[in-house]
Symmetry: C2
C-alpha cells in the first residue's frame, strides 16, 4: 500500500549506489516509516522520500562494510561484493555509498538533518565496535540490547527524527519505530540461530544464548527471546491504539505482528535476507 | 613559521580522532596551504583552520582504511590500529573519523564546502579502486598519474577549493597545490621502492617501474621519475615567481625544492613517514 513510494526510493537508491550485486530487499526502514506517517495522515512529499532514500543508502553502505567484518559471502541469495570482488572494493564502495547518502541529504539544505544522520552513523559504528569487543564473551542482556539499539535501531529512528524537523509529528512516533527496530534485530538474531548459526560460530552471543547458554535448552532460550520481543511489540501496538483505524495502520500492525512469528521453514532463509 | 597554526590544528585533530596510535606527522596538507595563503598575505582565521582540521581528519580516516587495504603494520614508527586491534576497529574508527570531519566542516554552515569534501572523498576512493584494479598489471604513465591525482592530489587541493568559497583567492593557487600534491605522491612512491618496496611486492607498479621494468635499471627509472617530478616542481615555482618575496614564500619554496631531493639514508624511512 506504500509500494508506489517504495518504488521511487528503490529507483533513486539504484541510481546512487556505486555497485549492486544483490536484491535491495523490501526496504523495511522506509516501509515502516511510510506506513506510520500515512496512518497518521501525513502527506509523503519529495523531501520525505529523499530522507528515506538517504537512509537506505546508509543501510547499504553499512552492509558492504558489515560483509567484510562478518566475512559474509551470501546476501539475499546473491554473492556479496566482498565475496565477488574482495574486501577492498567492498570497503571503498561502502564509503562511496555513505558519501552519496550525505550528498543526497544535503539537497534538503538542512544541517540539522545531516547532523542527525552523522550521529546515527557514528552510533552504528559504535554498536559494531561493541559487538567486536564482546566477541567470544557472554554479554549481559543489557549490553546486548545497547548494542542492538546502536547497531540497528538508530538507523530505523533516524528518518523519523529527520522528518520531524521538516513537518510536525505527534509525540512518541519516535518510540514506535525504536521499539520496532530493536525487535526487528532480535528476531534476526533468532533466525540466525535457526539457520546458519554464523553469529554463534563467530562468538557473537545473542538473546537466546544469553538466556540459555546450553545447546540442549536453545528452544527455551528462543521462547524467552520471543517473550522479550513481545514487550517491544506491545509498546508499538499500544501507541497505535491511539490512532483511528485506516488501511495503513492495519498494514503496519501486520508488520508488527510478524516480529515474533517465526517462519516454520527457515532452513533456506539466510540471516541476511531479513536485514 | 606556521607552527602556531599547525599546533592549533593538531590539538583539534587529536580531540576529534576516535583513536590515535601514531604520531600525527607534519600535517603537510595544512602546512603547504598555510604557507601559500600567508605568502599571499591572506589572514588565517578560525574558518580556515576548521577547513584544514577537517582535511587532516579525512586524511587520517583514509590512513585507517588504507592500512587495511595494504595490510600495513607500521606507520610513523608505531603499530597501526589495523595491526594492533584488527581490521574491524580500523574500518570503524576510519568511518567515525570521516563523519567527525564532516561534522566539523558542517560548523562552517556551507553546503558548498561539504560538497567539495564529499566529492574529494569519492575521488580518493576511486583512486584506490583504480589502484586495486591495476594491481599486478603494468599501468601506463597516464593511468598512474590519474590514480595519483585522485588518490592523493585531490585532498591537497580540497582545502584551497573550500577556502576560495570563504575568501577571494588569486587565480592559479589551486594549480600550485595540485602540482605539489602529485609530486609529493610520486616522491613517496620512489621512497617506497628505496625502502620497504612494499608497493612492488604487492604488484603496485609506480613511476620508476613504469619507466624501467627491469631491476638492473631501477636507478634509470628513478632518475626519469625525478625529472618527472621536476616538471611539477617547476610549475609550482613559476607561479610563486609572480608573488613578491616574503618569509612564507621562501619556506614554501624550501618545501617545493625537497620534492625531488631524496634523502641519502632512506633505509630507516618508512613509506608512511612521508605521507
Amino acid at each position: 500500500m506504500v509500494s508506489e513510494e517504495l518504488n521511487c526510493i528503490k529507483k533513486e537508491l539504484e541510481r546512487n549506489l556505486p555497485v549492486t550485486f544483490y536484491d535491495l530487499g523490501k526496504l523495511i526502514r522506509s516501509k515502516v516509516t511510510l506506513l506510520l506517517l500515512k496512518s497518521l495522515e501525513i502527506e509523503i512529499n519529495k523531501d520525505i522520500l529523499t530522507v528515506l532514500t538517504g537512509t537506505e543508502l546508509i543501510h547499504n553502505a553499512s552492509l558492504m562494510h558489515d560483509d567484510i567484518i562478518d566475512k559474509n559471502g551470501i546476501r539475499r541469495n546473491s554473492q556479496t561484493i566482498y565475496k565477488k570482488e574482495g574486501s577492498t572494493p567492498s570497503l571503498l564502495y561502502g564509503n562511496i555509498a555513505l558519501i552519496n547518502a550525505i550528498n543526497m541529504l544535503l539537497t534538503l539544505n538542512s544541517t540539522d538533518i545531516i547532523s542527525i544522520f552523522n550521529s546515527t552513523v557514528v552510533d552504528m559504528c559504535k554498536g559494531e565496535l561493541l559487538q567486536y569487543q564482546q566477541q567470544g564473551k557472554m554479554p549481559t542482556l543489557e549490553e546486548y540490547l545497547l548494542k542492538t539499539e546502536l547497531k540497528t535501531a538508530r538507523l530505523f529512528t533516524a528518518p523519523i527524527r529527520a522528518i520531524s524537523t521538516l513537518t510536525q509529528l505527534p509525540e512518541n512516533v519516535f518510540n514506535v519505530i525504536k521499539n520496532y527496530g530493536i525487535a526487528f534485530q532480535i528476531k534476526n538474531d533468532i533466525t540466525n540461530i535457526l539457520t546458519t548459526n554464523s553469529d554463534y560460530i563467530q562468538g557473537i552471543y545473542t538473546a537466546p544464548i544469553i538466556y540459555e547458554n546450553n545447546p540442549d535448552k536453545i528452544n527455551i532460550g528462543i521462547e524467552k527471546t520471543l517473550s522479550l520481543i513481545d514487550n517491544y511489540k506491545r509498546e508499538c501496538l499500544n501507541y497505535l491504539g491511539n490512532i483511528s483505524d485506516n488501511k495503513y495502520k492495519r498494514e503496519l500492525i501486520g508488520e508488527i505482528e510478524c516480529l515474533n512469528r517465526l517462519e516454520r521453514d527457515t532452513t533456506n532463509t539466510e540471516k541476511s535476507t531479513l536485514r
